[in-house]
């Protein structure tokens, strides 16, 4: 599981020291090959019903361990990942130039992705699974933007990252809910407790969140839009990530979660419904593409929709349980797994074919291509095999899975549960229509590229057949396509049947053993396929007449447009929002602070019934006190209202001296002393500074300006008053100050305040001294810097 990740570390060194002689890919090739061979050994054991579990302790105190679990489903995916990975690396060795490309980056990302993907499918721990899930997103992001100097690559990468990470977060939330419900991190244990989970309140939210993750990753409707843009990646990447592996991660998740969520109506409708919509949407949109890779991207979306809907239909088996009708829907799940495998084979080869065409002609737009049949016969043969298999024609493996697909959707129409009734009829009809479109775009793919007239003047390079090394991988995949058609049972028995057991553990194996072999006979499904071929050929022949109508579909109504508008809209909204409140004016920020201060404190006082006035402990008021209070108010108002700076300073000084008078009255001699001295110094400072500052001219302000200030300051004052009075009214405990009356016994001091300052709470004083020191240094530096600057200016002028 960790082999690719570890070997990724070694790639840069190999590149640096050996790339001159040998293409780095040859070393990398060993990794997936080893894994593939290693995984092959498991096949007989897993087919016999055994499973393997390995645990690696990671964060044991939180019960987070890297648990890998090998069963049929994991093994199916593991074989696909390592097998297609091997072929893709062989292909990339011939596709990527040794001299022009930064190969070390390429192979590091690719190995990282491979490791993440293997980790994903073999994980049993939900959070570890999530970790690998995000690692696939990140490495896919890196691979899409491999040619980072192109803007379209960066945009495509960003789009795919935004969408898949959105889904990833949704999935994480779903996982956490699932962990709360089941009280375990292990998928295995969750499956074992599936019955208990279904009644829980969080069951549906968890399901929705996890499905969001699966749908975004697997490019389901309406999240499929990132996949066509991801085609900016190098073709081996498109072939590997965007057809065979990463987009199947969502499928894997849905299949993995089927034993837990399957059998509920929401799951069925979402998975099957969205799947079938995606199938139709993808096949319809693929028709209007002129770029071969975009066409294949939409066809991938469409095929993934098909697999997804099959999984949805297959989840009905959980509802019915073992029995005749349950077995019928088990076939759907089997078809999903079968098509999953088939799709990896033919779509991988098709992407490689497009890569070859691109590599050899310099074009991938079907409007410029044509007549390549004579020039590139081998490529043509592979393309024909792949496309016919995708269209669902015999003698290729796509035929078998399409037949099973038709079988499954016709079964849905008379399942008669979850309010299916008449709506159920829509499933086979949509599936049939989508298959016709699929057939048409497959034909377009093959015959617009390879058929027709050869026009070398439109191509940028001299066209010839691809080098054999490049053809190896698509040939192997093409051979698999044919082999699976003729010997489906070998694959079915050894790989797919154990996978099916993993998806639907409650069904017995023997019940569908027969179904796999039963792929012959004239039945409804065969008639439907014949219909598809007939209508498809008719549509393809008349394509010139209607294809314009499809291509002129308004740009405003596409999902991409919606995505772009949303992105631009949110950016604009947040920018305008920030500009509106971040004005740069200090006064505005102060207004926010004061307003929130007043509102929060007043609000909480009122809501919690905190206002209580208690005047019983009040001391008496003498005339002298009252006079001082009035004097202070007058002084404060003078500071506020005067327009002469000297008056303001003097009034402030008077205020300070009156405060020290209060300290005298309140029996605080030290305070009175300090206050007096500090006030004097402050006043002197003020005077010093004000000498250099402009006149305290009164601004002629507009009335609203004054009024807001007035309201806010009144509110703040009122809040402070009410708060202080209420605090006085709520004396809860006695003061601890009686302890400090032992100052003489404990500290040898008769002045309690001084004892507190230097003995009991000496730390405060120490830091207060530092404050004073820092302020002094600050003042010094501020003035000194100014002098230095002045002196420099003088030097320069001289």
């Amino acid at each position: 599981m960790f082999l690719p990740l570890i070997s990724a570390l070694a790639v840069p060194f190999l590149y640096k020291y050996l790339n001159r002689q040998v293409h780095t890919g040859w070393f990398v090739l060993l990794v997936p090959l080893t894994i593939f061979i290693y995984l092959l050994q498991y096949i007989p054991h897993v087919a016999a019903g055994e499973t393997y579990k390995y645990t690696l302790s990671w964060i044991p105190s939180f019960d987070i361990n890297i648990t890998s679990y090998v069963d049929g489903l994991g093994l199916l995916f593991g074989l696909l990942i390592s097998g297609v990975g091997t072929l893709v690396i062989i292909y990339s060795i011939f596709y990527m130039s040794k001299i022009r490309e930064a190969l070390h980056n390429f192979y590091v990302y690719l190995l990282m992705f491979m490791g993440a993907m293997l980790g994903l499918v073999f994980s049993d721990h939900l959070l570890v699974l999530y970790g690998f899930w995000e690692l696939t997103s990140v490495s896919s992001f890196l691979l899409i933007s491999y040619w980072y100097e192109r803007q379209s690559s960066r945009q495509g990468a960003l789009k795919s990252l935004l969408i898949t990470v959105l889904g990833g977060f949704g999935m994480l939330a779903g996982f956490i809910m699932l962990i709360i419900i089941g009280d375990t991190y292990s998928i295995r244990e969750l499956i074992a407790n599936a019955d208990m989970i279904q009644g829980h309140v969080l069951f549906i939210p968890a399901m929705l969140c996890i499905l969001l993750g699966a749908f975004t990753k697997s490019a389901q409707f309406p999240f499929g839009i990132w996949l066509p843009d991801a085609m900016e990646a190098p073709t081996p990447v498109s072939s590997y990530l965007h057809s065979a592996t990463m987009v199947k991660a969502g499928i894997y998740l849905v299949a993995r979660m089927t034993p837990i969520f399957g059998g509920s109506a929401v799951w069925f409708w979402l998975v099957a419904g969205i799947g079938i919509i995606t199938l139709l949407y993808g096949s319809l949109t693929a028709l209007k593409q002129t770029d071969l890779k975009a066409l294949l991207a939409y066809s991938t979306i469409s095929q993934l929709g098909m697999i997804m809907s099959l999984l949805g239909v297959g989840s009905l088996a959980v509802y019915f349980g073992p029995g005749e009708s349950g077995t019928v829907f088990t076939v759907a799940t089997f078809a999903a797994l079968f098509h999953l495998f088939n799709h990896s084979t033919f779509k991988g080869s098709l992407f490689m074919v497009v890569g070859i065409i691109d590599h050899e002609t310099g074009r991938r737009d079907i409007r410029y291509l044509g007549g390549l049949m004579q020039v590139m016969p081998i490529t043509f043969t592979i393309a024909l095999i792949g496309a016919f298999s995708m269209a669902g024609l015999p003698p290729f493996n796509g035929f078998l899975s399409k037949e099973m697909f038709f079988g499954a959707v016709t079964e849905v129409s008379h399942a008669g549960i979850f309010g299916l009734g008449n709506i159920g009829m829509a499933f086979p009809i949509i599936a049939w229509v989508a298959s016709i479109f699929t057939f048409v775009y497959c034909m377009i793919f093959v015959f617009k590229t390879f058929g027709g007239r050869f026009r070398p003047e439109k191509l940028t390079r001299e066209v010839h057949e691809a080098p054999y090394g490049m053809l190896i991988s698509p040939l192997v995949l093409g051979l698999l396509v044919i082999l699976i058609f003729f010997f489906p049972n070998v694959l079915g028995k050894y790989i797919l049947a154990p996978a099916l057991t993993a998806v639907l553990p409650m069904m017995s194996v023997s019940a569908y053993d027969l179904k796999i072999s039963a792929w012959h006979g004239l039945n409804m499904e065969l008639l439907m396929t014949i219909g598809v071929v007939a209508v498809g050929i008719f549509l393809f022949k008349t394509a010139k007449r209607w294809i314009k109508a499809v291509r002129n579909y308004p740009q405003q109504l596409t999902l991409n447009h919606l995505y772009n508008q949303t992105l631009r809209g949110t950016e604009k909204l947040s920018a305008s929002l920030t500009n509106r409140y971040m004005t740069g004016s200090l006064r505005h920020y102060l207004i926010y602070i004061f307003t929130f201060f007043a509102i929060l404190l007043m609000g909480s006082l009122l809501l919690l019934y905190g206002i209580r006035f208690d005047f019983s402990n009040n001391a008496s008021v003498s005339v002298f006190d009252a006079g001082l209070v009035i004097g202070m108010i007058i002084a404060a108002l003078t500071v506020l209202l005067t327009s002469h700076r000297i008056v303001a300073i003097v009034a402030l000084g008077a205020l300070g001296y009156m405060v020290s008078m209060f300290f005298v009255i309140f029996r605080a001699p030290d305070l009175a002393l300090t206050q007096m001295v500090v006030e004097t110094v402050t006043t002197v400072l003020f005077l010093l500074c004000f000498y250099h500052l402009p006149k305290l001219a009164k601004d002629i302000e507009r009335i609203p300006f004054k009024l807001t200030n007035l309201i806010i300051s009144a509110a703040v004052g009122l809040t402070v008053t009410v708060l202080a009075l209420s605090a006085n009214g709520h004396k809860l405990f006695e003061s601890i100050s009686s302890f400090f009356e032992n100052a003489y016994e404990l500290a040898g001091a008769k002045n309690i305040v001084n004892a507190i300052l230097v003995d009991f709470r000496g730390f405060d004083t120490m830091l207060e001294i530092s404050v004073l020191t820092i302020a002094g240094l600050g003042v010094y530096i501020l003035i000194h810097q100014r002098h230095k600057a002045l002196r420099r200016e003088q030097d320069e002028t001289e």
Partner: protein, 112 residues
């Protein structure tokens, strides 16, 4: 007495807030200075007023006024003084550098 002082504190805080919200740098400094006084008064009020002798042990009285708020205020006065001095010098420098003390015109750099 406490009620009276608390009301006084409220008025002082209002005046200080109004000054802080104004446009002139100097008024802001004056405002923060007034609020500093108000807070000190509030602190001493919270310890109770006129309840006993000054906190000097040789007074030989039964009760002393609460010494803790006094110690706290003493610290606060000094810190307040330090901050005021620094801010004043800052104002002075800002005025010298930018030639204005209007807060609406001291809005910082556009490219921040």
């Amino acid at each position: 007495m406490e009620t009276l002082i608390v009301i006084l504190v409220g008025i002082l805080v209002s005046v200080g807030t109004y000054l802080i919200l104004s446009r002139r740098l100097l008024r802001i400094v004056l405002g923060s200075s007034i609020i500093g006084h108000a807070v000190n008064l509030l602190l001493i009020t919270s310890g109770g007023l006129k309840t006993g002798a000054p906190p000097l042990l040789h007074e030989k009285k039964a009760g002393f006024t609460d010494a803790i708020p006094q110690a706290l205020i003493l610290t606060a006065i000094v810190i307040n003084f330090a901050v005021t001095a620094l801010v004043l010098v800052l104002c002075y420098r800002a005025y010298q550098n930018y030639g204005t003390d209007d807060m609406e015109r001291l809005r910082g750099n556009e490219d921040e």
